[in-house]
Symmetry: C2
């Protein structure tokens, strides 16, 4: 991780943001937390991530105020939930450019029962929808081969941020 | 970079996106390309990045279709320009959470002369503005100490994507 400190020479807010979430795996951890994963073991089995790496990343996210440790749970703070539009846009960019089968996940605005668009807005009501009002559904690009408890639980519709029923 | 391959076990489009732009420095290179940096030497001096790392990242961005090599210039493709909302949102998230002095850069919708909001929309016309219609201006958080030619050039208003006058 020798290059990390060099980021501080960059005056841009993007560089500061990347100091916090630019480490390998970090945005995938934030994605899982948005989906409602809260326990160390569940992050580990869903992400296939080495224990030591996961442990370091979670601690760093707690230190920077993205996650809050509540008992055994890692819960997104307001700063962490605020990453939703970035996680969503980057995933949609991945879909558009690198997926043959379309999106792995659809995010449905609960009030309107419509999937949000690539910009995060609901086509029915026109609002940019916060994660609290979204339900995750399997999309056409989802790989159904994964059998870990989080992957299995997320094959049923589930409200974002609420604990995944595992 | 031993963890990179593990990303492929993640079914999510976010994981695919992170394979392309999740390497250290990559989003800062894309940011500079959006600002109009095109030459190897200009990326290097503006980013303070080791030559070998810059060379590898630029080649990888060409290979994945984010940049196009045109003579001596590295120019963003449509796929690359499509990263603008992500780079912008992540920088604004950095501003909100980790900057004492406010944004380093303001992005002004040329038609309306208004800076866009955190969601990328122009408060005057209400449209989400593409990078072609934006002008970069210094913001209150800008560190004016940097004297490399790109930093100096970007202290004057400059249209995004157009070559930085260095």
């Amino acid at each position: 991780m020798a290059l990390g400190k060099d980021y501080v020479k960059q005056e841009c807010s993007l560089a500061r943001a990347l100091e916090v979430v630019g480490e390998r795996w970090t945005l995938l951890i934030v994605r899982d937390a948005l989906y409602g994963v809260r326990r160390f073991g569940h992050f580990q089995t869903h992400l296939d991530i080495p224990r030591a790496v996961l442990s370091a990343r979670l601690q760093s996210l707690v230190d920077t105020g993205v996650l809050d440790k509540q008992g055994h749970d890692y819960v997104l703070t307001g700063t962490g939930r605020d990453l939703w539009p970035i996680v969503h846009s980057l995933a949609r960019w991945g879909d558009r450019n690198f997926s043959d089968r379309g999106p792995c996940r659809l995010f449905v605005h609960i009030g309107c029962s419509e999937p949000i668009d690539a910009g995060g807005a609901c086509p029915a009501c026109g609002r940019v929808v916060p994660p609290e009002e979204l339900e995750i559904h399997p999309g056409p690009g989802l790989d159904a081969a994964r059998q870990d408890p989080v992957s299995v639980a997320l094959r049923s519709p589930h409200r974002l941020l609420e604990p995944v029923p595992v």
